[in-house]
Amino acid sequence: MPDARFWSDSEPDFTASLPSQPGPWLILSSGGADGAFGAGLLNGLTASGRRPDYAVVTGVSTGALMAPFAFAGKQYDEALRKCYTEITAADVFELGGSTAESFVNSWPLREFIDKQITPELMAAIAAAHRSGRRLFVVTSDLDSQRSVVWNMGAIAAHGGDDAAKLFRKVLLASASIPGGFPPVLIDVEAGGKRFQEMHVDGGLGGQLFVAPASLMASTSDYRLPATQIFIIVNTGLQRDFKVVDRFAPTILTQSIGMAVPVDTSLMIDRAYLVAKRGDVEFNVASIPANFDFPSKGPFDPNYMKALFQVGFDQGNGSTAFAAKPPPPPSGPSPPNHIQKTGAN
């Protein structure tokens, strides 16, 4: 399938895949269930009448899952809302179905994606691609240890069952946290040989994607061919204090949870510098630091509805986006009495 993808570090492939005319870019970050914020914000922007047709939409992880709806336009707002307010963990993963590859089985998410990515949505994405707009989703190719950018509009425009299957597989892969979810094997052909690549969550290569790292570098003079850049940060940047049990999964979880906000914050900062360098208007929306609605478990519908509403109100308000990056991750001081648990 020609033009279906390119390495995220390939400058010529990236620049060749861009629209011929500058326009507003929408960047959707990782964030899991917190994608409810971005879904709400997009719905709120529509309600405010200030939502453009984005020339470029990129998505990583949960950002990838919402990217097709955001790209296809306002008529898919309701579908997007349902995806982030009417699901439970049962629609995402199954416990006890683990294999040597992961803690849980992600077949419910696979089936959920299959239902959401309808032929009508694929047709809308294909039409937008043919009009010159671009939809990019990032996965991580573990075999090569490189990020891959999938040109989802080109895949949709290709048409047919194989394209539809690839489209859905890419979305699943982009949201498949390694260790938590099984990797996604994607059939490829190179040098006359057919084989399978192992793809996992796009967040491994960065929690959001704007352009190849070399073009984003402080030493580069690359000017982003965009009129505006809008980043939606689907993850809280505030630290949470938690006494970590001496148990491998908990340690792993807390470790990743510490790294993700740092990576996200640095990437937002880098995007800001690149935008300034090219005289591109910079906009970023992130979850308010005071959002503290309790979550009673994974993909708690009440938590997601509350976060969706926060996003909606922000999108529909006068200050949907900030003109500068949010403060770097910070957190509360630990309580006076803490006690480690677990074996010595």
């Binding site: 269930a33 963990a89 179905g97 807390q254």
Partner: protein, 130 residues
């Protein structure tokens, strides 16, 4: 992202903890009648109607010769009668829960409660899933 990861792995931990619990298999001695027509893989969704036990979690279970066993190693046990009546018991790190209900064809459902009564709710099952 952090909340998501925490949720995923925390849920996995629950499943792992369940494997470490002793299981009173004789509690179901009366329900060991073979229910082979329900044999196979099932996917069970647990919802909480009362209490703070989380909700909407999905578990894989297998029925073999009328006996209910956890898929992938986590501990759930019970039995299903030829009529479809089913009882299930889970022991998790000092806490236990029991469920009962009925299977019919490729689906089923019922209720569950923790032994201390802190939480209760309903469950729904469907064949397959993978």
């Amino acid at each position: 992202m952090r909340n998501f990861l925490r949720s995923i792995f925390a849920a996995a931990v629950v499943a792992l903890l369940a494997t470490s619990g002793a299981f009173p298999t004789d509690a179901f001695a009366a329900a060991k009648a073979r229910g082979g027509n329900f044999d196979g893989s099932w996917s069970v969704v647990i919802n909480t109607a009362r209490g703070d036990c989380g909700s909407g979690l999905r578990y894989a279970v297998r029925i073999i010769g009328g006996r209910v066993v956890g898929e992938g190693g986590y501990s759930v046990s019970g039995a299903v009668a030829p009529s479809g009546a089913i009882q299930v018991f889970v022991f998790e790190g000092g806490r236990s829960a029991s469920g009962s209900g009925r299977l019919a064809g490729n689906s089923g459902g019922g209720v569950w409660r923790t032994s201390g009564g802190e939480c209760a709710g309903h469950w729904a099952a469907a064949r397959g899933g993978y």
